[in-house]
């Protein structure tokens, strides 16, 4: 017990502290210490992407990062996407375009998409496919996920114009 460490990070814009063992994975800190269970676990080999969060704005798979590596950094999870103004355009896209079935991969998928659209507000279909190829979906066949991203990109562009 004595070897526990304090991790201080900004999570969804708020300062957070968690007491964790050095071996604790970031996803476990997020789910068990911070009780943000929207970040899911589908594997433990970075294969599925259900645990994707943003670390300093970059999508990472939180099942293969130690919690202590997040010390002093900014973490964004799915719970931070909705604001007082409502759902983010990415959330809206997945909801409106039937871009989810079981929804288990959706939070990780949306975090990757959020980062993609920050970097590339108007991606081509190929760019979308490539950007999200680290997030597995077993339900949808990906067709409506692509539509969801295009919906979000369109909305974002509309808002910027």
């Amino acid at each position: 017990m004595s070897d526990k460490m304090i991790v201080k990070a900004t999570v969804n814009g708020e300062e957070c502290e968690a007491l964790v063992e050095p071996r604790t994975l970031l996803v476990h800190m997020i789910r068990e210490s911070l009780h943000l269970t929207g970040t899911h676990i589908g594997c433990d080999t970075t294969s599925c992407g259900a645990c994707t969060v943003l670390l300093d704005g970059k999508p990472v798979k939180s099942c293969t990062i130690l919690a202590v590596q997040a010390n002093g950094r900014e973490i964004a999870t799915v719970e931070g996407l909705e604001t007082a103004a409502g759902l983010s355009v990415v959330q809206e896209g997945f909801k409106e375009e039937h871009g989810l079935h079981c929804g288990y991969c959706t939070p990780g998928m949306m975090m990757t998409v959020t980062a993609l659209l920050e970097e590339n507000p108007d991606p081509t279909e190929d760019e979308i496919r490539k950007a999200i190829s680290g997030n597995l979906c077993r339900c949808t066949g990906y067709v409506n996920i692509i539509k969801a991203v295009q919906y979000a990109a369109g909305k974002k562009e509309g808002a910027a114009a």
């Binding site: 929207g38 970040t39 589908g42 996407l81 909801k95 079935h101 079981c102 959706t106 990906y142 067709v143």
Partner: protein
């Protein structure tokens, strides 16, 4: 295509899922909750000579260790009662559970599992499905004769179920043929691989238990717990939080009773969450390995004369729900073709592998792949175009199938035609590209199912159903059916579901049956309320009941829309008086007559209620140097009867196609000489990514189904995972001239076939 108009479809769980606030089973946290882990056999076969839990029990933080000694001494299983919750004397596959531990943390629970001392005497490992059935093979279940069974299943030793489909004179058919082509196909074991690994939480209240489980079939899970722990069903409540996919892998009763048993002993709630490795090795539901031998007679003009087939299916160590697999695989070895004589012998072979169980369209992707590859080989033998060959032999309206079922009007030929158009068959393609076709069929499953509907005082209504949702949207679309009956909007209805203590029985998210059966129940309940509303409105508007219509949330006199009353007003009055509450169930469609007099071991799969038909065409590119196959486009055309919810239906087809691409090219378990799975992880068992996914063109054709679900709807979720494999295989053969006869058709196997 027949359809209920209106493409709008908003999932009621959409916001819950995009905000991350929706709860899946693994997200649940109860006061005082312990964490559960299992101790597995970790060997494929053996006799247990000692189990000692002393050290595990002494580990600080451990609350309970449970073995067979802590649960009733009985065997269970739907078809053959061949298995136990916890191994007693024998272990028969690596994922067999010997003990369960509850402890303060998952890590302590795991350490305790490791401290359980188990001595297992090695026994012969049955690692090959054909060897399993040879005379003199060691038996996986030495005492098989003593087991109880159901459904008049025909079994003998390692052959857990023998079914034959025999019609017409096969020898005469072969004699009349110009060519007889005989081939052998092998399919490796595959997995459902939902992205959510399963989880179970159990909490006792006195002698009653509440179980939250990631199950597709809560009522079956409840029955399993009640049976194995010897409790009445109303002492077991199964609740399904959001379910993170299933694809059949989460069908049936699985681990609910193990967790309930350990929670009872620990006197605390217990939570089990599977790792991805456990998700691969432990469930008694994975897609069965198969050997399929087909021998078909064909005339030079393309007429089929007869088929003889032998199918051996890997049952694994226990029978799960696989009792109907041999007959179903037999039906898929026949296919939707005019075939005057068939003799298919199908067997379910016990092995020391993980048990097989329904995974999305059990047996069909493999058997259809073998059949449709074989059909292309037949076409090649007589020099006929594969599309024309299918067009010549595909079943037509009113045809009698090989088992004697007369087919109602259907869209099978149209599926083929439309797929050819959507894929652009016949156009010039680069040398490394080609198009392959595959057609198939699949039954709808009629089953009892129930729902209630109640009106609230403000005119909104609530559907309380036993149906289960695993993501397909089928439950989410039930309000469309109720709204359609009651002149309301889908948004006027909320849904209560996935709780065995609220809705009536339903067989769950399995068998593509939610719209087909529970849709019928919802419509029946809505019709009762419709009558009540019409009566109330007739009184109020002083009109004859027959003159009232329900439109746009009002009850009004036909032709005099000004004489109307809001449904909300009627609902408000009823809430203070005779309430608007209704139940719906109804009788499932009956199975068509067939002649099975020459068959053995019939399991009810040779007669199909409201069969669906489909054709997928795959445009593929093959890299001749590496054997890597790229699927460029798939056209997927289905006769699914009436489409109740177009967006949901298309989503099922698209998801099924991608699953089919994975099954065709990547997905297969490799099994070591020790009978254990070598690639039980997503690094080694690869799923299709978005970058791999082809363009998909979906179309629905055909008339409203007869003897079918609401408005003529047929089952839809399983068929799309069936024909993509063979379409791809036929595309590969068209490019390379080489036939790959083992699934999955990996680059190595494609290369080997090309260079054989």
């Amino acid at each position: 295509m027949a359809a209920i108009e209106n493409r709008t479809f908003k999932r009621q769980d959409g916001k819950d899922k995009v905000t991350g606030l929706g709860r899946y089973t693994a997200d649940l946290q109860l006061t005082g909750m312990t964490h559960c882990k299992f101790r597995y056999a970790d060997v494929a076969a053996g006799r247990i000579t000692r189990i000692d839990t002393t050290k595990a029990e002494a580990l600080p933080g451990v609350f309970a260790v449970v073995t067979h000694a802590d649960t009733p001494d009985l065997q269970h299983g739907g078809y053959i009662q061949d298995r136990r919750l916890f191994a007693k004397e024998y272990v028969r596959f690596e994922g067999e559970i010997i003990a369960a531990v509850a402890a303060t943390t998952p890590e302590i629970a795991q350490r305790a599992c490791d401290l359980i001392e188990v001595d297992i005497e090695a026994m012969p490992i049955i690692n090959d499905i054909e060897a399993s059935l040879l005379a003199g093979s060691p038996l996986v279940h030495a005492d098989w004769k003593d087991y109880g069974d159901s459904y008049d299943i025909v079994r003998e030793g390692n052959d857990a179920c023998h079914t034959s489909i025999v019609h017409g004179d096969v020898e005469a058919g072969f004699a009349a043929a110009d060519h007889v082509v005989r081939e052998r196909y092998v399919a490796d074991m595959q997995h459902a691989a939902p992205i959510e690994p399963r989880a179970v939480v159990a909490e006792w209240h006195g002698d009653q238990v509440t179980i939250w489980s990631s199950t597709q079939v809560p009522f079956n899970a409840r029955a399993g717990v009640a049976h194995t722990l010897e409790m009445p069903e109303n002492h077991v409540r199964v609740i399904v939080p959001h379910l993170g996919g299933g694809f059949g892998g989460k069908c049936e009763f699985h681990f609910e009773a193990h967790v309930a048993a350990v929670a009872r002993k620990a006197q605390r709630p217990a939570k089990l969450v599977f790792s991805r490795r456990e998700e691969f090795i432990a469930p008694d539901h994975r897609r069965e390995g198969m050997v399929i031998e087909l021998e078909t007679g064909v005339k030079a003009d393309g007429t089929l004369t007869a088929r003889r087939g032998k199918v051996i299916i890997d049952n694994g160590a226990y029978t799960a729900d696989a009792g109907f697999f041999p007959e179903l695989a037999g039906m898929h070895s026949i296919g939707p073709y005019r075939l005057p004589a068939v003799d298919i012998q199908a067997h379910l072979a016990y092995t020391n592998h993980q048990p097989s169980g329904s995974v999305r369209a059990p047996t069909a992707p493999q058997a259809n792949w073998a059949l449709e590859s074989h059909m292309d080989e037949l076409a090649r033998t007589i020099g006929m175009d594969p599309l024309a060959f299918r067009q010549k032999n595909i079943v037509q309206d009113g045809d009698t199938t090989a088992t004697g079922q007369v087919l109602d009007p259907h869209g099978a030929p149209q599926c083929l035609q439309t797929a050819a158009e959507l894929i652009g068959y016949g156009r010039e393609l680069p040398a490394d590209e080609a198009i392959g076709f595959a057609i198939g069929w699949w039954p709808s499953f009629g089953s009892s199912s129930g729902a209630y509907i109640k009106f609230n005082g403000d005119g909104s209504a609530t559907i309380i159903t036993g149906a289960q949702e695993c993501g397909s949207g089928a439950v989410m679309a039930l309000p469309r059916l109720a709204a359609n009956e009651l002149g309301m909007q889908p948004e006027d209805f909320s849904i209560v579901y996935q709780d065995t203590e609220s809705g009536p029985y339903d067989m769950g998210s399995s068998g593509s049956q939610t719209t087909f059966n529970n849709g019928r129940a919802v419509v029946a309940a809505a019709k009762v309320l419709r009558e009540r509303l019409l009566e109330m409105a007739a009184d109020k508007l002083e009109a004859a009941k027959g003159d009232i219509e329900l439109v746009d949330g009002t009850a009004r006199v036909k032709g005099s829309p000004e004489k109307s009353v809001d449904i909300a007003e009627l609902a408000g009055e009823a809430t203070g008086g005779d309430q608007l509450i209704a139940t719906g169930s109804g009788t499932p469609p009956s199975a068509p007559e067939v002649d099975g007099s020459a068959c053995v071991g019939r399991m009810g799969m040779d007669s199909w209620v409201a069969p669906t038909f489909f054709c997928h065409a795959a445009h593929v590119r093959v890299d001749r140097e590496t054997g890597v196959v790229r699927v460029i486009k798939v056209a997927a055309v289905h006769d699914s009867g009436t489409i109740v919810n177009p967006i949901g239906a298309e989503g099922q087809i698209e998801g099924g196609v991608i699953m089919g691409v994975g099954q065709a090219l990547l997905e297969g378990s490799r099994i070591g000489d020790d009978g254990r799975i070598l690639n039980a992880g997503l690094l080694e068992y690869k799923l299709q990514t978005m970058a791999d996914a082809p363009e998909i063109a979906v179309a629905f054709v055909g008339p409203a189904g007869t003897n079918a679900g609401p408005h003529g709807a047929k089952g839809i979720a399983e068929p799309p995972s069936v024909p993509t494999l063979a379409a791809i295989g036929n595309g590969i053969a068209a490019v390379t001239g080489a036939r790959v006869r083992q699934l999955p058709m990996t680059p190595n196997r494609v290369w080997d076939a090309m260079n054989a």
